[in-house]
Symmetry: C2
Subunit: 283 residues, 2 copies
């Protein structure tokens, strides 16, 4: 985590320009904390199997954080969730203006791929990473999920469709974080697929827990705007708080079983991150 | 051109989804005509030197059109230029809404890199293409230019700074289109650099001519919202119409001289596109 934070700080978007807040607007949300969940997933897989590739894996890990951060900046825009607060900080369109927030997101989206291209990894590995990030972080994943979320915000979907929504909006980028790690270290296809599917369900769990937090915590506790899911297709609104908590617990137990069948090195590398999510229902 | 149009139509973003207008919103601006100037530059360089690589070059050419189209969609947003019309068609935020337009742009931005990753080209070539497109189409190019343009829209810049603006906003993506073609066919570094610098000045010429069109043509003639550059750092507003036309002519003559020193195959491949820009001052 410290190594990633240091790498992030050393690789913030920096351009020599007379534009007074261009660099600040691109860096602000990257510096506004966050759990670095996606980079940590990728780096944990690499650390587990090929610690010598850790250095090379920092750039794709950064790419994941750039892509994720751009999505937060755009999701918070007035035309979308209209959120004034994110990670405990003022959102970009509040600090500056909408155009600045749109452009900062655009820049981070594109720059994610720049960092993969420049990573000290094999070309065939990098091309696969570009493909996976572009697939799950764009048209065929994250953007589709956000589009479904917004289009149906006043129209209740079936539970099945809400799962499709969140698999695309959240789970695919989490799953691809594990998969990108697996590609970097060259895991066999079957193990890649196992990790990816684990990531999909982990992402779903993540989203249900997020909905529960949104329902039960104040803005100060959560560090972001909460309680604004009133008209959204959240799990809470569809199946209620109790069933959402049950669903989260079942999913966590199922994931725990699968986790216990991972290679020991991988269990060890992921344990600290996973216990927070998989064992939350026990606390 | 026909081959590119056919390839574009066969590779429009298509996702199986219950979202009623997701696919349409991503494809609309891609289908709304346009000169395909950037793809044609790339493909002309490839056609000139390695016609056998033409098939493989279609995907990176498509990536350029995706990236360019995303930038138009976002530039037209209410928070930016607030344009109701583009290429003679209603803009996306008018047809649907702002969120849809933002997301369609986001998707096309990311998907550009997906198409490069999937192209039937060597991995080392593809990684270089990703790097160049991400560099000149993002933080260090196009987005910087658009940010400068918006931030200084009510504050006149020096001519020097306006050139920096347009080199970033417009010229770098045009230059990189030529450069990407040069990378695909493996031209020597010196020739790559020569083409890139030619593209930078061509992009500047392009922009000055665009400003002149904006000043002198109606919306019907130009096929887009015109006459709204009143408070912008256009060349017209800075140095007036006459000097802008002089500047365009000088630049065109200079470019023509350099063009005449290109390899004959390249002159031949680019001629039909170039004559429209380089010889416009003679008509």
């Amino acid at each position: 985590m410290q190594r990633f934070e240091a790498y992030l700080k050393a690789n913030l978007p920096t351009v020599e320009t007379f534009h007074p807040h261009y660099n600040d607007s691109l860096s602000a949300m990257l510096l506004a904390g966050g759990k670095r969940f996606r980079p940590m997933l990728l780096l944990s897989v690499v650390e587990a199997y090929e610690p010598l590739l850790f250095e090379g894996a920092l750039a794709p890990a950064l790419a994941l954080e750039f892509l994720h951060t751009y999505s937060l900046i755009h999701d918070d825009l007035p035309a979308m969730d209209n959120a004034p607060l994110r990670r405990g900080f003022e959102t970009l369109h509040v600090t500056y203006n909408e155009a600045t927030a749109i452009l900062a997101g655009d820049a981070l989206n594109t720059e994610a791929f720049y960092h993969i291209a420049k990573a000290p990894l094999r070309d065939d590995v990098k091309i696969k990473l570009v493909e996976l990030l572009a697939r799950d972080g764009g048209t065929y994943g994250m953007v589709l999920g956000q589009s479904i979320d917004l289009h149906f915000e006043n129209e209740p979907l079936t539970l099945e469709k809400v799962k499709v929504l969140h698999i695309n909006k959240t789970a695919k980028l989490i799953a691809t974080s594990l998969l990108m790690g697996a590609v970097i270290v060259g895991l066999a296809k079957a193990k890649q697929e196992e990790l990816y599917q684990f990531g999909i369900d982990l992402g779903l769990l993540f989203q249900i827990q997020d909905d529960i937090i949104d329902e039960t915590q104040s803005e100060e506790e959560a560090g972001k705007t909460t309680g604004n899911d009133g008209d959204k297709n959240s799990f809470i609104n569809l199946i209620g708080l109790d069933r959402s908590m049950e669903e989260a617990e079942m999913l966590a137990q199922n994931l725990e079983e699968r986790f216990n069948h991972f290679d020991e090195v991988l269990q060890k590398a992921l344990y600290d991150m996973m216990k927070h999510y998989l064992y939350r229902h026990r606390s």
